[in-house]
């Protein structure tokens, strides 16, 4: 049974220096209510793992603007000039990762794997300092698994067990992140009684979800 709590109550689990995965793709499928609560609480020195840093006024960008992020691991930062400013001023560390690699690193973190072998990034700066593994004559980069203290995800609908249904392109990184963190908080639009979501329609089993927050 996932516990239904308020966004402010959820912040008891989000503390300074935490490693936080946040779902969403350019502020689509991002838990905006939880991000607002993080800004309100003023947690600092966060390591944020996410697809991108959103926009200055939407999505993960709000945390960047409030200078709460010490390190950002992301695939794209071009839509939020503030991220580039803080990176150039060296007040925030930014690690850029190919999108498919980040998805697999998080999946591996949740799946009990040490990492994945990918051809993506070979011969580029992404490969610097990483092990190259040859399999059947073909080279791959070893990309290590990624985990977090907490995952803040967004879904469309939950039942009381925490089973989740995502909607359209709002799914993106959310399901993988829910498997790769110690504590998982899902912001949802609707919570329905257990049994109302057909097991075949569940996109993420509730066993991964600790808390539900109505967004």
């Amino acid at each position: 049974m996932a516990k239904v709590i308020s966004a402010d109550q959820a912040m008891a689990h989000v503390n300074d220096s935490a490693v936080v995965m946040i779902g969403g793709f350019l502020a689509c499928g991002t838990p905006e209510t939880l991000i607002d609560a993080m800004v309100k609480k003023g947690v600092k020195k966060l390591t944020v793992i996410a697809n991108d840093s959103g926009f200055p006024e939407r999505g993960i960008g709000k945390l960047v603007v409030a200078k709460q992020v010490k390190k950002l691991v992301a695939t794209h930062i071009g839509t939020n000039p503030e991220t580039g400013n803080q990176m150039n001023a060296k007040t925030m560390e930014v690690v850029l990762v190919p999108q498919g690699t980040l998805a697999e690193q998080i999946r591996a973190g949740g799946a009990g794997l040490g990492g994945v072998l990918t051809p993506t990034g070979l011969g580029t700066v992404v490969a610097e300092g990483k092990q190259v593994v040859t399999v059947d004559g073909k080279e791959f980069l070893l990309e290590k698994a990624v985990k977090a203290d907490i995952a803040l995800i967004k879904a469309h609908k939950a039942d009381e067990k925490g089973n989740l249904v995502f909607r359209k392109s709002g799914r993106n990184f959310n399901p993988m992140m829910a498997t790769a963190a110690e504590i998982v908080i899902a912001e949802v639009e609707t919570i329905v009684p257990t049994g109302e979501i057909d097991p075949d329609e569940v996109m993420l089993p509730g066993i991964f979800v600790d808390y539900l927050v109505k967004g």
Binding site: C28, T75, E104, T120, V126, K168
Partner: protein, 215 residues
Amino acid sequence: MDNRTLIAKRVAQEFKDGDIVNLGIGIPTLAANHLPEGINITLQSENGFVGLGPVEEVDPDLTNAGGQPAGILPGGATFDSALSFVIIRGGHVDATVLGALEVDQEGNLANWMVPGKIVPGMGGAMDLVVGAKRVIVAMEHAGKGGSKKILKKCTLPLTAVNVVDLIVTNLCVFEVTSKGLVLTELAPGVTVETVRENTDADFTVSPNCQEMKIS
């Protein structure tokens, strides 16, 4: 006809009926508007769906990979980012079309950062060019101020090594072969000399070099 439309129309001739295609932002996206009669393709959007189509109504849960409102055509399907890159990296995309900052005669591509100036991040580009069966670069032949973009060797950080199959510009079409660039088509009114003046890379002229057929 403006350069962008010319390039988009020529790129559209590369698709086969039934192809799964991923189009980058800008000129590549325009190619979908100029498909030859009888050619139907399925567009993949790396943020998590196939069947990308025109916007019917703005839905906050449905954007394209640039974060703009999008539509899904009947028969489309949504999925998470890991599956999206199973499709992309796993060789299930028939063609990807992208812009470039630089491309060279070995098929190397640079399109994700200019050190010290713009660092938007690679997003899904590194995975796309490694995984897609066919990689088409679509861009204006010359850069700002007439700078050359088709080089002997890329100078900017690479997106990937030896991945480009075809270069389509407002001046010409180059095929990238194991023996270097081969000029196969010239835009109406363009001479080999004009291409040479605007190209740093070495290239040979195909004996079958012809004028682009653009209606």
